[in-house]
């Protein structure tokens, strides 16, 4: 995640691997990094974009604290927690209906 945060822009797996392996002995395998990145994307911590034949990844959350909150909320279905919002992107039609309610129509 540090590599993705430093980069700012989406990075292909190969670039993340090169960055990680710069001072690393023995070096990490390509497939290891690829697996870790795809897991991060599945958990919503990284974002995946199609780039050429593969994928490029960027950080979806801004800091370790955000990741902690995100994980806690992901787990909340299994804890004694009732949440006002889940990770839901309000779809445009629902948001339009909410807007009408706010305006009292």
């Amino acid at each position: 995640m540090d590599v993705l945060w430093r980069a700012g822009d989406p990075l292909p797996v190969r670039a993340v691997l090169a960055e990680l392996n710069r001072d690393r002995e023995p070096p990490l395998a390509y497939t290891t990094v690829m697996t870790v990145l795809s897991r991060l994307a599945e958990r919503g911590i990284a974002r995946r974009h199609r780039a050429g034949r593969g994928y490029a990844y960027e950080a979806a959350l801004a800091s370790p604290a955000d990741i902690a909150v995100r994980q806690l909320l992901d787990e909340h279905g299994e804890a004694a927690v009732a949440s006002f919002v889940d990770h839901v992107d309000g779809d445009a039609r629902l948001r339009e209906r909410l807007r009408r309610l706010v305006e009292g129509r």
Partner: protein, 282 residues
Amino acid sequence: MTRDRPFLVLVVAAAATYPALSLGWCVAALLGTERSAWEMWLAGHPGALAAPVLVLAAAVSVGGAGRVLVRGWWRTRRFRRWAERHRTRPCTTVSAVLTGFPARDRVRVVATDAPLAVTVGAWRPVIVVGDALARELGTVELRAVLAHEHAHVRRRDPLRSLLALVLAAHLWFLPAAAELRGRAWRAQELAADRAAVRRSGRAALAAALLRVTAQVPGAAVSAPFATAELLAARVAQLESGVPPRPAAVSRRCGALTVAGACAFVVAVAGAWTLMVLTCPCW
């Protein structure tokens, strides 16, 4: 009260399995101690075969429920500790809202950019609000969010959620139990929304929901279906004032539940026959 029906059904169904699951243990003990019972086992009597099935079902139920309970407790504790560590002094506008809030000693404002407004804790629930969200919401909207969370505190919803989770794990052989858990969760969110509307008005809650759904980052993250469905139900309730009916249970889930229930009843009947035939108590 009728709106808490999914939760009550879960409680009653789980309670109903207890005598049957204990019967499994009794029959297992009989097989171990009574010669006649053992002979029936050797002869392949269906009642004798039902006993190990019941014992196994009971072990999975108790083990699964225990695991879920411990994990839920642990995760709750972790969340609360995190909230205490990141607690921050609310800004003046947020403080002003909190001054008029009846349960202000239960509110923890934490330093985070994440859109966080939750009630945590089974025994002594506290309301955790992210400071970024609190500042982003207007006074009226923040009051609506706090009213929603306060309803969770008064209803002891975190405890209910945890119990529903444990009971659904206990009833693992009935797929409809997981569906009931989902409905119980939906019912408690809708009830908290109704309380918030009574306290702060429909427009305030709608505005809070609008702000919050806009603020959630990560368009690439697909929301789980259940949460998208919940938001739709919450909007529908705000419009009509009454909670919408949940979607019907899928045919597959219904069929599997009926099959699970039948298998359970057959196992109980078999174990009971063996008990009646061989127990020295009567």
